[in-house]
Amino acid sequence: MRVNIEVNGVNYSEEIEPRLLLVHFIRDQIGLTGTHWGCDTSNCGTCVLWLDDLPVKSCTVLTAMADGHRVRTVEDLEQGGELDPVQKGFMQEHGLQCGFCTPGMLMTARALLDRNPNPSDLEIREAISGQICRCTGYENIVRAIRWAAANSSSNGALDVAEVAQ
């Protein structure tokens, strides 16, 4: 079957098998490998991307369900050579180690801050509670999202100095 999906602002019209999972479409067919495949059962969240404006676990979404919709992945967070505040926050607060859960965490973090620009620690913990990180013990992820909240102006533009690299 043919699907039309906008991924990170680019329109893709692709022939797919009806059973193709969105995570495999994004990774293997479109070649955006920032979104990861970790568990198959919607438990780990390494595959989180946005379907329209909502974070979803793409290992349990059929590509066909994304037909006519917009997808946003981690590769779209950096805009005009400028990292998103959540990306800067994860670097500043050491919110990542192996990096495997990071893209999904970043997409959830961005979605949280879009809706709640100044979340409490508990709200942050609840927002990422559907995703597993095996390296950080979560504390630095919470700090990273808090950093991003503290270092974003209301329109999303940054009010802090450049991050290294």
């Binding site: 098998e17 059973r19 193709l20 495999h24 990774r27 293997d28 070649g31 955006l32 490998t33 920032g34 979104t35 990861h36 970790g38 568990c39 198959d40 059962t41 438990n43 780990c44 390494t46 981690v74 590769e75 967070l77 950096e78 990292l83 990306q87 994860f90 670097m91 500043q92 607060e93 050491h94 990542l96 180690q97 192996c98 990096g99 495997f100 913990r125 609840e126 990422i128 509670s129 559907g130 995703q131 597993i132 095996r134 390296c135 950080t136 013990g137 979560y138 504390e139 630095n140 919470v142 700090r143 808090r146 950093w147 503290a150 802090v160 100095a161 450049e162 991050v163 290294a164 690299q165």
Partner: protein
Amino acid sequence: MTTTENQANPIGFGRMLRKEDARFLRGKGNYVDDLNLPGMLHGAVLRSPYAHARIKSIDISAAQAHPKVKAVITGEILETLNLAWIPSLSHDVVAVLATDKVRFQGQEVAFVVAEDRYSARDALELIEVDYEVLPPVVDAKKALDKDAPVIRDDIAGKVDNFIFDWESGDKAATDEVFANAAIVVNQDMLYPRVHPAPMETCGAVAYMDPIDQKLTIYSTTQAPHAHRTLYALVAGLPEHKLRVVSPDIGGGFGNKVGIYPGYVLAIVGSILTKRPVKWMEDRSENLMSTSFARDYHMKGSIAASADGKILGLRVDVLADHGAFNNTAQPTKFPAGFFHVFTGSYDLMAAHCSVRGVYTNKAPGGVAYACSFRVTEAVYLVERMVDRLAQELKMDPAELRMKNLLRPEQFPYTSPTGWEYDSGEYPRALRLAMDIAGYEELRKEQAQKRAKGELMGIGISFFTETVGAGPKRHMDILGLGMADGCEVRVHPTGKAVVRLSVQSQGQGHETTFAQIVSEVTGIPPEDIDVVHGDTDNTPFGLGTYGSRSTPVSGAAAAIAARRVVDKARIVASAMLECAPEDLEWEKGRFNIKGDKSVGKTMAEIALGAHGTVELPEGVEGHLNAECVYDPPNLTYPFGAYICVVDVDPATAKVSVRRFIAVDDCGPRINPMIVEGQVHGGLADGVGMALMEVIAFDEDGNNLGASFMDYLIPTSLECPSWETGATVTPSPHHPLGLKGVGESATVGSPPAVVNAVIDALAPYGVKHADMPLTPAQVWQAMQGAPYRTDLAIQ
């Protein structure tokens, strides 16, 4: 402290943001499953649904007829290549594909190579295997029963499921201490089977170039050099035609030390099809077939005087090794470093015995950041000390303080022969108690108990045993556990460091640049770290057992010192003075007494590559290397305190606070060290409260997906409180000890001790992990259950 602004990078040690983050944050990491080589095919493994069954026949004809299938491989085909069985890491063999029997649920039976991922899986369903189901051995305690089915009838003359007996310590002396002790406390405990479950599962892309016959294997390996040599030895492939690449790895925790059948199958698939073959397991395959951890049934006894002086410790272990003995550890140590079980205490005598048995479960045993079974050792001693405190009605902190090794006892030789390098134990425990507000917590607990509320405070003091290891004692399949490092300074003063170890998230690209920076004064941002590619790095045994910093970190420091030594000679030639007339100031050599005359490392590097006339016998350029054979292990340590609340109505445990004081010697990058500790603490909470791989009576794996194998999320983990003391290692060139596994080793007993403490009003003395609400409820009723079997 939270840092809210970017800081200038340090020269050498200090907080520095990670270099590797730049790609991970952008979704540009390069993990094995991200590889997409031209013409690449996809492999999938057919696995056994049974724990124990004889294979009567395998029909692959329908799978072979699938239009997208390029190859179907069975054990029978591998036998013709002499690859059906490969040596294990513990003097046993492991089946790549089953030929005679399947011996655990999830064992590899056949391999399909197809044009795409989905077709390969489709074809698995077309393979027909006729099994004769056999009774399985599920309960390790029944593995040696006379009527137990013999699992390993592939071994000539094998009539039981016995693997080994091993012991350490002085049994007679220990018996005497126990015979004369005022107090003896016995406690059986299980450290159940758990799984490292890194977020990235295991996988490989293999490509045998049909023209130059060079085989490149990109794989999720923590030990690329060791894998290369093992592939050469096992498959008879010439080692110079083998390249193993460990690209970005999505967490290891020991899960990625061994060679899995899937890697070998990807190689065979590539040889047969002459195309690159990718094999990537899914989560269930990871949990069911790759290296598990622990599975130690321990009978502990502790002896003490009436006033709480610990005198002796002994333990008898039944170790469940699964269907093949494939634990990854130094050859001489079938129980790993478990015999460091006397922990952090000054006692007179100790003895341990370990019996390994086969069961119809996946092989493995040494994984999940365990430092070669120091996790089990620390759990044993820290639970026993708490049991003793219970019997003595003594505060567990006071009991520990009374028995901890004192600073003047170091270097300390333990009753089982370990030489602890350095330690200031009471200082660390006191600091943890101060951060926790220990005395106040006890008061709060007393008030809560009076109201019927269940609050617990648990302490754990651990001594880690890392940095394996001295070649005279330690090898893996004959390969000595020394590691290499090369430092090359370019003419413009920028440097490249090549490591034998590699990162699975620890941040080597940053910390090893900082190590070389610390010694040479070259800024860390001017130092590139190359790792994980056997064609481009020196030989070494890899990253596990917290060994990168103590072993390769020492190699890097010494190589960097050799660069500085050479730089002195070059600088003296440039300044036309004697080398001894120069003094080192981080990053430059000056004429003694005159800082205005000198040469920077960049100037010296250019000189070394230029036309400066060097003394007779001194070669140009500014490079050095080192192969480091550590004189001893390093012994990081720490004091942990956990505070829990237990809901008396639901038996649910909530971790309110966790205080961790770690001493790993000087910290290369405190931010990264703290991150390593945080991750290990989450592991501890997971193992203590949630994680277990149990089996039902048919040998079905009951933890085979993330629906069933529960890993802590952000809601189960508290906000960690950390502290540090610094006791350098006297034998490491920079005093470093390593920290990767400290918190995983040290934290589980703190959580369990806290829960048992909370349950004191119910008279609970012990319950095995994981302390799920069901298990805690059962313990409150006086009947905790066995967590390794299906709940009866």
